[in-house]
């Protein structure tokens, strides 16, 4: 049980790091945003895992149910999801503009163009 | 809920699961795109129907039943439409069926990797 109790968190950590890796290792601007998305979603999973109560029900009050999962992380993550999609959309808008200005969305090509002019 | 309903539900779920598995097998093993879309398209609609029916037989409230029927209707509408659109788009994009040996039978106007 003890190992299992952390297994959940560890998987989340692995997920976060996979997303984080995509963000910093990839040169494609769109792919970076995808990585950012994965990174954020994994943090959401961390929060939600923290709110789970074994044997609890969804936090919608009903007769005869005593044990509920924690509603607070759910609320926080609802907000965080919105923040995530907002960031993604702004990032994508910038990518579109960058593509219009440079004709490419690869970081290396952009750096090259900036260096030459 | 009587045992009879439960049995019926189990049977439906079993058939549904079987269909799902066959569909997945086809999706994994068939040689080209059109065969694969056939495998999923056919089994998917039927399997979804059976699984949802199985679930339907398990519930005794009105609201979940209504929702299940809604889902069922929606899937019945959208799934074939999506398959159709996909196949059509693939054809327009120049994806062509292959024969048994895996070679392209129809020459391609232009490729789209």
């Amino acid at each position: 049980m003890d190992v299992f109790s952390y297994f959940n968190y560890w998987v989340v950590v692995v997920l976060m790091m996979l997303g984080f890796f995509i963000v910093i290792a990839r040169g494609n601007l769109v792919k970076k945003l995808i990585g950012l998305n994965i990174f954020q979603t994994s943090v959401f999973i961390l929060y939600i895992s923290a709110g789970k109560v074994m044997g609890g029900a969804a936090p919608i009050l009903a007769d005869g149910v005593e044990l509920y999962s924690n509603p607070l992380p759910h609320v926080l993550i609802l907000t965080a999801i919105v923040v995530g999609i907002a960031t993604t959309s702004v990032g994508l808008a910038l990518v579109v503009r960058i593509h219009a200005a440079y004709g490419t969305v690869e970081e290396a090509d952009i750096l090259e163009q900036d260096a030459t002019c | 809920m009587s045992t009879l309903w439960l049995w019926a539900s189990d049977a439906c779920l079993l058939i549904g699961s079987f269909l799902l598995l066959t569909g997945a097998l086809g999706f994994l093993r068939f040689p080209d795109f059109y065969a694969r879309i056939h495998a999923c398209g056919v089994t998917e609609t039927l399997a979804t129907g059976f699984v949802l029916l199985g679930l339907l037989l398990r519930s005794d409230d009105a609201m979940p039943q209504v929702k299940l029927v809604l889902i069922l209707l929606f899937v019945l509408f959208s799934s074939p439409t999506a398959s159709h659109a996909l196949a059509k788009a693939a054809w327009n994009a120049g994806v062509r069926p292959r024969d048994n040996s895996g070679k392209r039978r129809v020459s391609l106007p232009h490729t789209d990797p």
Partner: protein
């Protein structure tokens, strides 16, 4: 029986994921994503019965909607690209 169905669905999802990964072309991936979506609908529905809370069915409805929209979205987008490429070539 319910849990058996859930396991089967998870299995099918794995297959779809494998196909989404291997491709070979875009449409296979779209198909895989579509399959994945419909299987999620079933999964959520089944889970909601396993946990005994029919509220979850709302989520299944959403999945069905979203799934359809995203398939259409992918198709339209690939099409628009092709049209524009052709327009550019002419």
């Amino acid at each position: 029986m319910l849990s058996f169905t859930i396991i089967v669905i998870l299995l099918v999802m794995l297959v779809a994921l494998a196909r989404a990964f291997t491709g070979p072309n875009v449409f296979d991936r779209v198909l895989a994503a579509n399959l994945f979506g419909t299987k999620t609908v079933l999964l959520i529905a089944a889970i909601s019965y396993l946990l005994g809370s029919p509220d979850y069915l709302d989520i299944a409805v959403i999945y069905a909607l979203i799934n359809y929209i995203s398939v259409i979205g992918v198709l339209r987008v690939t099409e628009i690209r092709r049209e524009r490429r052709q327009a550019g070539a002419e």
